[in-house]
């Protein structure tokens, strides 16, 4: 374990922030306060955070429809995100994008994406920019198990390898694409696929923050050193439905409760760092309070914030037209 105390605190803070954010959005959606399609990341926090902890603003990520966690892990403003999800004028995207399109290019967050498999090609582009302009940056595509099958993803693996791009493909395999099990929809094996495209590939326990962090460190280092792309196949679980409103009847009774009880990534992290004496329980408790408050404040602000006015309907289509 090579994380500094500061990094550990940051990791815990971000995971708690994501969890609090998603739990809050879940409640607000259930109460009918949030419209549209909303996909929550709760349960998968160790992946986004374990990867993004290695990144700075000059590094880029592309996310999926399930983007809130990646946004927070990449440093997007939680207040701006909440406002965006509520469709407010000063949301991170002016209320025009909503949950499925939150982005902050200044943070290297290239957007959640409503198109499954939409991100990997974009990440090849961000990696190409880094390589061409020699910024030292890397680019990471988060892709679901369902998205792993999409042709755009396969093409991107090939392109990243052929162009020797500083890229990492993180397959977040939460066991389902909507109601379809990944054990059915993903033929063969994602680690083997990465290898078949000529790149190092590693299976990762996504409940274990430290394992994610370590695998990501290795892959990102490789990319930064000019040694090309890698694949990580991260196994994890989502706690809520595919989207808000999903009754999840396709899951086994008790499936989620068992995961929560046995290997919740935040609980595992907490146990590990306290047992090892790396962080104090009250430090962690403070973070829990703090992040809960941050999200609660963001919610209050978002509810109070005004929606965009008519004048905004036709702006931002072009830089100039």
């Amino acid at each position: 374990m090579q994380l500094s105390r500061e990094e550990l605190l940051k990791a815990y803070r971000q995971m708690c922030l994501i969890r609090a954010f998603e739990d809050t959005v879940h409640e607000e959606f259930s109460a009918g306060n949030i419209p549209g399609f909303v996909h929550l990341y709760a349960g998968e926090e160790a992946s986004g955070v374990g990867v993004c902890l290695h990144l700075t603003d000059k590094d880029c990520i592309a996310s999926t429809h399930r983007g809130h966690g990646h946004c927070i892990a990449k440093g997007c403003d939680v207040g701006g995100m909440m406002k965006e999800i509520f469709g407010r004028a000063d949301g991170l995207c002016g209320g025009k994008g909503g949950s499925m399109h939150i982005a902050d290019l200044s943070k290297g967050m290239m957007g959640a994406n409503g198109i499954v498999g939409g991100g990997p090609p974009l990440i090849c582009g961000a990696a190409l920019t880094a390589k061409t302009l020699k910024t030292g940056g890397v680019a990471i595509a988060f892709v679901g198990d369902g998205g792993s099958n999409q042709g755009t993803t396969a093409e991107s693996l090939n392109l990243a390898k052929v162009w020797n791009l500083p890229a990492v493909f993180v397959f977040e395999d939460n066991g389902y694409a909507e109601s379809t099990a990944s054990s059915w929809s993903v033929a063969g094996d994602l680690v083997e696929r990465g290898k078949a495209y000529g790149m190092p590939a590693r299976r990762v326990d996504g409940f274990d923050f430290f394992e994610v962090w370590d695998a990501a460190r290795e892959a990102i280092e490789r990319a930064r050193n000019g040694d090309g792309p890698s694949v990580l196949h991260v196994k994890l679980s989502r706690y809520y439905g595919h989207f808000e409103g999903d009754a999840m009847t396709y899951r086994a009774p008790g499936e989620i409760d068992a995961v929560k009880a046995q290997k919740d990534c935040i609980a595992l992290f907490k146990r590990r760092v306290t047992e090892a004496g790396l962080l104090e329980p009250d430090q962690l408790a403070a973070i829990e309070d703090e992040t809960a408050r941050e999200v609660a404040d963001a919610l209050v602000d978002a509810k109070a914030a005004p929606p965009p006015g008519e004048a905004k309907l036709l702006t931002d289509v072009y830089v100039a037209y």
């Binding site: 419209p35 025009k96 499925m100 498999g117 109601s179 379809t180 990944s182 396709y250």
Partner: protein
Amino acid sequence: MAKKSYRQAIAEALRQEMERDARVIVMGEDVAGGMGAPGEDDAWGGPLGVTKGLMPIFGRDRVLDTPITESAFIGAAAGAAATGLRPVAELMFVDFFGVCFDQIFNQAAKFRYMFGGKAVTPLVVRTMYGAGFRAASQHSQCLYPVFTHIPGLKVVLPSSPYEAKGLLIQAIRDDDPVIFFEHKAMYDEEEEVPDEPYAIPFGEANLTREGDDVTIVAFGRMVGFANQVADKLAKDGISCTVVDPRTTSPLDSDTILECVEETGRLVVVDEAHPRCSMASDIAGLAAQHVFGALKAPIQMVTAPHAPVPFSPSLEDLYIPSPDKIEAAVRKTMAS
């Protein structure tokens, strides 16, 4: 005859055609759902539940869940259609056509012409379109003008539950590739729908209102809006014909042109973006063929040349509304 929702009407059409013809199969992402999963089978029926209940009747051999690979499975539907099945494939949202359009427009749509008339490709692609669901830019588009542009495709826009059932049955029985557009904001709309199967022919417009002053041509969900406006304006003494072309390709231009000749005024209502749209298509048709009968400028009511915004406050402004249609009718009456 009973009241049925647009969703139920579609499901009934699918079920009845599957009963009638063993070559009809249904495929798409989670059209049954629960594939490989430990819980309930047939858990989803697509994200909005349209196909739920088919799999228990027809089994997994005829109701096929797919991985998220639209090119592969829409293309498979095209290939299956060309070799003897009659597949109904679900492209969940039409917004996803950009990952699979080649299999639709270069393959299925062109087989017959490229192969000198020897191919028959009875493919149906069902897909959701339209704004109003707060689903933002990548899940709210209309895009039927793009499909209408392509020779070899037929394009259907059912405007009510009754229309949906009859047009879907026709689509499945039709021997050409058909793209069937379901408006996601209409699934819960209800009306009387016959229990028995019936087919509504393509290329025959439906006059939902008949009047003397203005012809309103409207598509899909906009037909209902146009009818509302016609009813309202009737009270003010403005008498409207409302034309629901039902299919944009083939297009019943004869009926449209006749109506325009009778009324001398034309308003076209198209939920899609304005450029190279059905609005301009119909306007161009009239300006070429019944120019002499026109008494006033043609009015087009469309969504703006902008992506669909997420925020409800903006999306409500975005969609062509009864108010905008009414204003367009009043404008053409005033000139």
